[in-house]
Amino acid sequence: MSTNEKNSKTILEYISEWSRKHSLFVMAYGTGCGAIEIPSTMTSRYDAERFGIRGAATPRQADVLLITGYLATKTLKRVIRVYEQMQNPKYVIAFGSCTINGGMYYDSYNTINSLDRYIPVDVYINGCMPRPEAVISGFVKLQEEIAAGRCHKGEKYIENLEWYRANQKKIIKNWRMPDYNW
């Protein structure tokens, strides 16, 4: 966030952060078993749309990327491409213990253990799996962070790209992607 000489938000920044908070387009990309919680979060019973959360079909239109559970090394490549195609400001919500320390797949040969070594994560939701209430509380937490102006992980990712790329290339041996995807 750029600041003026009084080190306070301008009206324009206040408005744009308010609008970002109340309009979250979620990338419809389910990576693990947690994707099954998304339909019930979106439909009649829990109705995430009342918070301004709606699905976006492509990464270009999306604001939020959900990593719903374990992330296979094969999927990681696609997740990186999707994340890099999203436009700033962009946010990542990680579901469940699998994204934090590997969860029940901690010793698996083909899942990654700690997601934030590969892409920056804004909000973790714990549980295996988190219920829709927990998912919504995670979204509300993300909204609070956005309103407070603390979510700049997209820019941080570009700044620290070398570190993230080195970690990603350790996992993805056949790196046949452009080095700069956005």
Binding site: S19, R20, S23, S44, E49, A57, R60, Q87
Partner: protein, 315 residues
């Protein structure tokens, strides 16, 4: 000179009103859809919030010149078309560039925005965009024919190609064209189901199938501009239908503030009730396939369009 100034102010007012009304109708539709699905739903201003968010995205990507220009093209086409639609009947505050034959001109310029979308989507190189564009153009071949037949029916019946003349006929006789030529109205309404692209005719966007089709590579301010253009287009179509079939709104002779406000309220009531037809139809319908969608328009809508022309000739 003062006259010109008032006309420019009026044009700006018309554009702002079209934008605000189109966006609000979209928001009300989202709310109503949520209530029908037993959800609480977003606020009716959600579309404005989404637009603000999209416009305040920090990075925006364009794939080449046409990809950059397409949203601008769409919004320019929308505003140009809006200038030829009589919003209120002969009101000073809503001037328009009316001329004899503007109904035929409108038929051409209304597809201009879709052309811009097709060119922009073509340059992104996304296969979903290409499929979406081809579907959209196929569907347009479907609904344009009954729509044009319906309008030809009106032109033959009243021997005019001017929207203003058609409105005046309705003002003088006191009978709306939806009653004096009901077949034309029905054909046009069925064609409008395809124009608004709600279910079952949402084959162009088709989020679950085509990843939102032509707009799949557009994000941020590009998507926001396209959304604004689409909202203005929704207002244009609705106002055109009200002008042609429901006698328009507003009293031409009186341009006082209360008469203008009353005219706007009447216009909103009429356009909203027309807008609910494709929305209601969408709630109870799943999505058609492309060929089913085209065949739909080649059955009853086409037959009603032909009947409307025969009706006009016989009368």
């Amino acid at each position: 000179m003062e006259d010109l100034g008032i006309k420019i102010l009026g044009a700006i007012l018309t554009t702002i009103m079209a934008f605000a009304v189109g966006m609000t109708y979209g928001g009300i539709t989202r709310k109503l859809t949520a209530r029908v699905q037993n959800r609480r739903g977003p606020t009716i201003w959600q579309n404005f919030i989404d637009l603000l968010k999209l416009q305040s995205k920090k990075s925006n990507i364009a794939h080449g010149f046409m990809g950059h220009m397409a949203p601008a093209w769409i919004i320019i086409a929308a505003i140009t078309t809006l200038m030829f639609i009589p919003v209120l009947n002969g009101n000073l505050w809503f001037p328009n560039l009316t001329f004899h034959g503007d109904l035929i001109f409108l038929l051409y310029i209304m597809v201009f925005g879709s052309l811009g979308m097709a060119l922009g989507a073509g340059q992104t190189g996304n296969p979903n965009s290409a499929i979406g564009v081809s579907r959209g153009l196929s569907q347009m071949v479907g609904f344009e024919i009954p729509f044009v037949l319906a309008l030809v029916g009106l032109m033959v019946q009243y021997q005019t190609t001017s929207i203003k003349d058609l409105m005046e006929v309705q003002q003088q006789t006191g009978i709306w064209i939806m009653f004096s030529n009901p077949f034309s109205f029905l054909a046009a309404i069925l064609a409008s189901l395809g124009m608004f692209r709600y279910s079952p005719f949402d084959i162009v966007g088709a989020p679950a199938e085509l990843a939102s089709g032509p707009v799949s590579e557009f994000g941020g301010k590009y998507l926001g501009t396209m959304m604004s253009g689409g909202s203005i287009f929704a207002f244009i179509k609705l106002t055109l239908f009200v002008d042609l079939f429901m006698g328009g709104a507003g009293n031409g002779s009186d341009t006082g503030i209360w008469a203008t406000l009353l005219g706007i309220v009447i216009l909103l009531v009429k356009t909203f009730s027309l807008y609910m037809i494709p929305v209601f139809y969408g709630w109870v319908s799943p999505r058609y396939r492309t060929e089913q969608s085209i065949q739909y328009f080649y059955r009853w809508p086409l037959a009603l369009g032909i009947i409307s022309v025969i009706w006009a000739v016989v009368l």
